[in-house]
Subunit: 289 residues, 2 copies
């Protein structure tokens, strides 16, 4: 029997933060008091700031654009440190249009609890507002990662952010033969009924390949790390005119691996160069199953 | 600034259980939803069963005699295992007059949440009942471990379960000179105004000494591990007729060390033997400061 995906995910989040004891206490309290299984929590969210700087926020709720920073007493050791933190908070808010709530852990336990009550109330209000506006994508129970879920739906649509967890599941969704496992496992399989469509499970990067989503996924750059092999690869693929249904793979910071449907892509021959790699351009947001 | 003792304690409890992810999830949820800072949680409680067997229950609430067992799916792999667990539960309940609630983690996350809601409701009812009966000793915020707290009270009384956290604090309480630190730090200090009373911080056991509370603390056995030294020690102490105010030291399973006031003791000359050690007998439950 499999563990519920949400329990698997949240309990892993708790485990990951367990060494930072106050942070763990605050995050677990927000989760349990909120008690809304449709709200997703992300730890250690990467946020771009100005001038190539970036920040990792302690907790991020992507559905409502809320970051929570749990500031242990060391955050307040000097006025300078306080000033730096303030600037950081402002930059995150400016850059992302998200907002940041800070928990000051110098306070008494009772005050920390009050702050968490305020945070929980804030999350509830924002989620409620989004639900009213029919603008809330609920975090699922894991059933939305199964081939059956998408088969029943009958299509993959970019804005639903469809996801699968394994290559086997991607193949099962299309009734395609699962390629052999192994070191050189192929990166895709031809669609059983559309011979010009390759189902491509693209890795972000590994030892050999350096693939990247560009302009929010409107383009994908695919390139071999070795220049000679890159040129051969580009020249080989460019004469072929197949399309690709892309499942872009990434691993989140709790170690969960997902293949996210990104749409149907075609080579952009103007932008593709043997020296810099293939540029795939999104031409469709939807795929019928 | 010191961390609030309750936050220190509970966050350590969460950290300690973090590898057992479902257990950690359930315990943290009970704690946060209960949200009663006067209720103490103890993990991995030792319980004697029949025939020298013992059990460690996942969570114990000593103020209301409630054990909670968080049974991961592996607990149910066979009828035999289920039968063993049932017998174990019955033995714990019979032996202790406590009661045990089990959480079956094969259930869906929603069902696990319902079970936790039931547990929280049960705890609230039992605590409420005890409070009405004025029979509830609240878990403190740590201020009750300070010398000032006991000085203000003016006495140590066994049934209040007085506790201190360091030898320095014990000495401060009586205005006694703190003995030198070091390997052979002495085990006690003479009361500044009662010269026949030794303030004794007794260790449970170490490499040299094997001390033990007997009959619920009515007696204490003090003995050196080495038989020759034990005889010399007994013979030396027995001719002296001092009394002892005992702070018995133990370390809980989260690593917190406490010196608990146990009363005033005198040598029980009938029971004391050079071969088996000194038997101290409790003669008073209270000590004025």
């Amino acid at each position: 029997m499999n563990m519920d995906f949400r329990l698997e995910y949240i309990s892993k989040l708790f485990e990951k933060t367990s060494k930072k004891r106050i942070e763990n206490y605050v995050i677990s309290r927000i989760w349990h008091l909120l008690s809304d299984l449709e709200v997703k929590f992300i730890p250690q969210q990467y946020v771009k700031r100005n001038n190539e700087k970036y920040a990792l926020t302690d907790l991020y709720l992507p559905q409502i654009g809320l970051h929570i920073e749990i500031n242990e007493p060391a955050h307040y050791i000097s006025d300078e440190k306080i000033e730096i933190d303030k600037k950081r908070k402002n930059e995150i808010e400016d850059k992302t249009n998200h907002f940041v709530i800070e928990v000051d852990c110098r306070e008494s336990l009772e005050k920390i609890h009050e702050k968490i009550d305020f945070i929980v109330k804030t999350i509830r209000e924002k989620v409620h507002q989004k639900r009213i506006e029919q603008n809330f994508i609920p975090w699922g129970n894991g059933s939305e990662f199964t081939p059956e879920y998408h088969k029943n739906k009958g299509f993959l649509r970019l804005k639903d952010e469809p996801c699968l967890r394994t290559i086997d599941d991607i193949c099962a969704l299309f009734g395609a033969k699962v390629p052999m496992r192994g070191y050189l496992r192929q990166g895709g399989v031809v669609h059983p009924s559309q011979k010009d469509l390759l189902i491509w499970w693209s890795i972000e990067s590994n030892r050999l390949w350096d693939n990247e989503l560009l302009e929010n996924g409107d383009f994908i750059c695919e390139r071999h790390r070795d220049l000679e092999k890159r040129k051969n690869h580009v020249n080989g693929v460019v004469i072929d005119s197949h399309k690709r249904a892309v499942f872009f793979c990434n691993t989140d910071n709790l170690g969960f691996k997902f293949y996210r449907f990104k749409g149907i892509y075609q080579i952009d021959k103007d932008k593709t160069k043997p020296e810099t790699g293939i540029i795939w351009k999104r031409i469709e947001n939807e795929l019928k199953i």
